[in-house]
Symmetry: C2
Subunit: 277 residues, 2 copies
């Protein structure tokens, strides 16, 4: 999916919501356990209930890998179930030497080889340019590079002062030479909303994938206030707040209600920023 | 596997060789294509031919994920085929917020849940302490943290000067508070042999997993000269140089010959360093 198509979808759905599909068998409604694949059924019902309110789905690969071969199959089947217009994010946080990143790109971007072709993948920047570029060689596919993450551990290295800037600033500045904002996004945690103004200056045209709203304590309003640009430029993720809104038979309805609340907040912000009328 | 067991294996096999199992269907001998699962058969024959000469096997997950569900199954079956005494390394370069790293730990350390239980996993440090600690909560399991990698991209961030040190030095120094050398190793590329003296000072008791000997141009002798400690403290990886020594029906024999050359070089070094007699 290219940037224009993504922006078009944001405008037509009046939303920049990304729903994180991170299902844990212990947390899904007990009545689904009768299905052959309860997690796949859970994902499908969440998708059915929310797809008109969100623009992206983001399964985190860890939640599938921990179930072994069956989990990897569930990830593939979940990807297949995404509606055509959805921007799909493999939240995989990969990155390796060039030769190996090529293989990861095949894994997540090449249906013929792996059975899946996401629009984008999250990548860790530590190994530098040649670990990122192989993903960018796939047309209309995106890298979402970890810049400033939402977890407490972001303090260990990402805020490290170098001679001229913090490490995460260096990640954004350096990587801007690897691709333009039509293929490169950044992960910027909602829990660091005060840094958003600065980050928006560093990458004025880029989309940011923003985790950390909800369970992790970030504020949607603060993120919008400092992070929106003329194209919207934000994909705000919510996982647990939506998918675990209820453990009852009404879980999908309740997930929709939570998604709707966020969509409505986002619509207000899109109007306020004159991105839609 | 604990550190004493690993050192015991090094001494009895007179080797600190790690064989990287990164098979690509286009590169494996054509006569194996008649098997139901040629890659699994390839791995099994490489293991049969080399297991007495090496102490560790390191499949890189990218090479399995790129084949989808079937690939993940091959990874699992390969793990099952490892001899009991082998130190197994999931070269996965994972790392995510704590909650999610927990799931990755289940994926690679919990046979009951995922069908696999490697001894160790490579982890990217960018997300800091809470992304690493969940792996360390599994007894006798190891994190092998990326410090100074062997690819050209290591220059982008790992050599970045902070107020007091390079970023990779900060990764080693900071992470030494998270676990001791009984559970935490570092990836240190052979292509940066000149930095080995310095790195050994920073982490005198730690094992280093060293990629980059062979195809990537690193020198085994230089690494040994600067990197060995009283426990050996090195696991030197070779992938392509061993597994693709021949594309003929003699590939396993030829792989053994290449492994043997490295084992003999290592044995000399272990004697020279008085680790074995």
């Amino acid at each position: 999916m290219n940037k224009d198509q993504l922006i078009g979808q944001i405008k037509s759905k009046k939303s920049f919501l990304c729903v994180g599909l991170d299902p844990v068998i212990e947390n899904i409604p007990p009545h689904l356990l009768k299905y052959d694949n309860p997690i796949l059924e859970f994902n499908k019902q969440i998708i059915d209930a929310t797809h008109d309110l969100c623009v992206a789905y983001k399964p985190n690969t860890a939640f599938y890998e921990c179930l072994g071969v069956q989990g990897w199959s569930t990830l593939t089947e979940t990807w297949k179930y995404f509606p055509k217009e959805i921007f799909s994010i493999a939240d995989a946080k990969r990155g390796d030497i060039g030769n190996t990143s090529n293989m990861y790109a095949e894994a997540f971007f090449n249906t013929e080889k792996s059975g899946m072709s996401f629009d984008s993948i999250t990548v860790a920047p530590y190994m530098g340019e040649d670990s990122v570029v192989p993903f960018l060689q796939h047309k209309d596919k995106w890298v979402i590079l970890l810049a400033l993450t939402s977890n407490i551990g972001h303090k260990d290295f990402q805020l490290k002062e170098t001679a001229t800037e913090k490490l995460y600033e260096s990640v954004i500045r350096t990587s801007s030479n690897w691709a333009n904002s039509g293929q490169l996004m950044y992960v910027v945690g909602a829990t660091r909303a005060t840094e958003f103004q600065n980050i928006r200056k560093l990458a004025p045209n880029s989309f940011f994938l923003v985790p950390g709203v909800g369970a992790q304590g970030g504020s949607l309003d603060e993120v919008c206030e400092h992070g929106l640009n003329a194209d919207c430029g934000l994909l705000i993720n919510s996982s647990r707040g939506i998918i675990y809104a209820s453990k009852g038979t009404d879980f999908a309805e309740r997930a929709r209600e939570e998604a709707l609340k966020l969509q409505q907040q986002m619509e207000s912000w899109l109007i306020k920023a004159k991105i839609i009328v």
